[in-house]
């Protein structure tokens, strides 16, 4: 599937935050988005995920012919993820439940991936910073999204967690998921990326 | 501020406007302020028993007698009377209009099982109504007999809405009749007289009550000046209360 932005402009009041003439993101791609604080990275990602309407311009999702609904999902991961007020396992199951599925095996596998299996029954609001990040990621990945937009997912992670997530993303990437990653430091995850976009001073560069 | 006393009285005397009329007449020559608390007869007597008011004006002979017997009240005086009437739907399905006495009228209502609204609130009016049913043997059991548990005004409105008969004091009827789909179906039976008394709270029970001031107001009520004021009170040109000081 393909995400297409055309003539997108975001402004608050008088001021333009950014203007983007043309942008494509396709499943299978791996993009690193960087830029100074306040440049509008989070805003752009939310616009791409359809959570926010840009001031002007269009955002289109174009499905490939042979894709199911599920594989067209575009998931945005908040910079500070919000965890539902229930236990860890139920948080992971959330997206599946919405579709009327449960798939306990897959949930088990993802929890293990994320190194949270021993915390399954803990209330989510008790988790540590790094555990929260991992849970948010697990909650998204269990859905096999077509595209996933990660807003600084590594900020609270230790070396071990980072490796774990690298492995998770690699797996997904092999299965065709595309991802866009905003991140200030270079690390194992950004090395997975084959495109590097830079958002600064109101415009996006590095798009091929 | 000037001295003030508290008078607990029934809604029939206050809501009809009689007390407003009397107090403005009284105020012409007196500085004593009379604060009126208008509630049901039962509650008025209860307030007097607790010593929360200085005097009462009520219309429930049996309850008043008990009140005085138990030593809560002194110096009871008859002040005035008015009368009760039966009212009902304009079509008068039970033909109460054609009956000679109130007992007969009630009997007809029960016989055809018409709706009848009883106040059911232990008020003077309700007690009177139950007394009348006693003449027919027992308390009414026909299914049209509904206990509203409310004041006279609301019971009249309910009767009007439901097309029912009810017994009311004349004052409330005169005040409300324009707004009701009801007509007067029976009046002028001597059994329907409704006497009012004024009673002072016993200062031996409650030392703080202002018995002298209360007495002076009660005296004014039963003296020619007050009696004349009662007699001159009119609603739509019709007199409501008959002065009856002995």
């Amino acid at each position: 599937m393909r995400l297409e932005l055309t003539k997108v402009r975001q402004s608050f009041g008088e001021q333009d935050l950014f203007v983007i003439d043309q942008l494509q993101l396709i499943s299978g791609s791996a993009v690193h988005l960087h830029g100074p604080n306040g440049a509008g990275k989070s805003t752009l990602m939310k616009i791409m995920a359809g959570l926010q309407k840009p001031t002007a311009g269009q955002v289109k999702r174009i499905a490939d012919a042979d894709e199911s609904d599920l594989q067209q999902a575009v998931i945005y991961l908040h910079q500070n993820p919000y965890l539902f007020d229930t236990n860890v396992r139920k948080n992971v199951e959330y997206g599946l439940r919405l579709q009327g599925r449960k798939d306990p095996k897959k949930v088990d596998r993802v929890l293990q991936w994320a190194g949270l299996d021993h915390l399954q029954q803990r209330q989510a609001h008790l988790l540590s910073g790094g555990e929260r990040q991992r849970l948010a990621l697990a909650r998204a990945l269990v859905l096999d999204p077509a595209l996933i937009l990660l807003d600084e997912p590594t900020s609270n992670l230790d070396a071990g967690s980072l490796e774990r997530i690298e492995q998770m993303l690699k797996d997904l990437h092999q299965r065709g998921t595309g991802f866009l990653l905003s991140c200030h430091q270079d690390n194992a995850l950004t090395k997975l990326c084959n495109q590097h976009w830079r958002l600064a001073d109101g415009s996006l560069s590095g798009v091929d | 501020a000037a001295e003030s006393i508290r008078l607990a009285t029934t809604t029939s005397t206050y809501n009809s406007g009689l007390l407003g009329h009397l107090l403005s007449a009284y105020g012409e020559n007196h500085t004593l302020e009379v604060q009126v608390i208008s509630v049901g007869t039962g509650k008025a007597l209860r307030m007097a028993q607790n010593g929360d008011v200085d005097l009462v004006m009520t219309h429930a002979p049996a309850a008043e007698a008990a009140f005085i017997d138990q030593g809560f009240g002194i110096e009871a005086h008859s002040v005035m009377y008015n009368d009760f009437i039966l009212v009902g739907p304009k079509a008068d399905p039970a033909n109460v209009h054609g009956s000679h006495t109130v007992i007969e009228g009630l009997q007809r209502i029960a016989q055809v099982n018409s709706k009848f609204i009883s106040r059911g609130d232990d008020s003077g009016t309700h007690k009177k109504e139950l007394q009348l049913w006693q003449h027919l043997g027992a308390s009414p059991t026909f299914s049209g007999y509904l206990e509203s548990g409310r004041g006279m005004g609301h019971s009249l409105q309910m009767a009007s809405e439901l097309g029912a008969y009810t017994m009311t004091d004349r004052g409330t009827w005169l005040a409300l009749k324009q707004k009701l789909h009801l007509q007067l179906v029976l009046e002028s039976d001597p059994r329907l007289l409704n006497p009012y008394k004024v009673i002072l709270v016993n200062p031996a029970r409650h030392v703080h009550v202002k018995v002298d001031e209360a007495r002076s107001f009660a005296q004014w009520l039963v003296n020619p000046e007050g009696q004349a004021a009662i007699g001159s009170f009119r609603i739509n040109g019709e007199p409501l209360f008959v002065p009856a000081a002995e």
Partner: protein, 236 residues
């Protein structure tokens, strides 16, 4: 002091004796108020949600109006409804006056603005990321709404309890459109009004105790659930 104590103990004695008429009255109160709350709940929450998350021109005028309706005495609400349902009113043909459905309608009108106001404030206090997270994980608008309801469930519970308290304890509208007819529309509060009007304070207190006890049972169960489902953590 004696008087007060006497009234209380007499009330307890009376309750202990177990009076079928009394329990009939209690039944009317509960069935009417529970129905009203049940009917008003979802529409009220939806309106609260719309007011919290959508911006439209007359939005705050609407909020102000709803809040203001809380200050209208129940008897006035009852009065207006009475005039609607009365024989000479526009809905007179429905023949609803002095029936339980009329009481239910009155109580719906009373709890609706309260539920809206309280749910609005619950939704406003909720984290802005709740809906975004739900949506991005694939929730339909309706599912996202349900997720939000779950996240603010404690505040909603408080709203529910307050609304129930308001309508089960109100007398103005029940008296006006119900009529306090024995065996039909007499509920706890209209019965209390009647008894205290008679100077029968014992009865009034007894019925008040019934209401308090039943509310306590309800609240204790809710409170128990609530306090046992939460473990505290300090924020990180």
């Amino acid at each position: 002091m004696n008087e007060l104590w006497h009234t209380f103990s007499a009330a307890i004695t009376q309750l202990a004796s177990g009076d079928p008429m009394l329990w009939g009255i209690v039944g009317v109160s509960f069935s009417v108020s529970a129905s009203a709350l049940f009917i008003a709940l979802l529409p009220a929450l939806s309106v609260g949600f719309v007011l919290a998350y959508f911006r439209f021109p007359s939005r705050w005028a609407l909020i102000s109006l709803l809040n203001s309706l809380l200050a209208v005495p129940t008897v006035v609400v009852g009065l207006v409804l009475y005039m609607m349902l009365s024989r000479s009113g526009p809905l007179g043909d429905l023949n609803l006056l002095f029936t339980r459905p009329a009481m239910i309608i009155g109580q719906i009108l009373l709890c609706f603005p309260l539920l809206v106001a309280m749910s609005l404030s619950a939704f406003q206090a909720a984290d802005h990321r709740v809906l975004e997270t739900a949506k991005t994980l694939g929730a339909s608008p309706w599912q996202a709404f349900v997720t939000l309801l779950f996240e603010v469930r404690f505040a909603l519970l408080a709203a529910l309890v307050t609304a129930f308290g308001r309508i089960i304890a109100e007398v103005g509208s029940a008296m006006m459109v119900g009529g306090n007819i024995l065996h039909h529309t007499r509920n706890i509060t209209t019965a209390i009004a009647l008894e205290t009007g008679k100077g029968e304070f014992v009865q009034g207190v007894a019925l008040g105790i019934v209401l308090l006890t039943l509310a306590l049972v309800l609240n204790v169960s809710l409170g128990w659930m609530q306090s046992h489902s939460r473990v505290l953590r300090h924020g990180t």
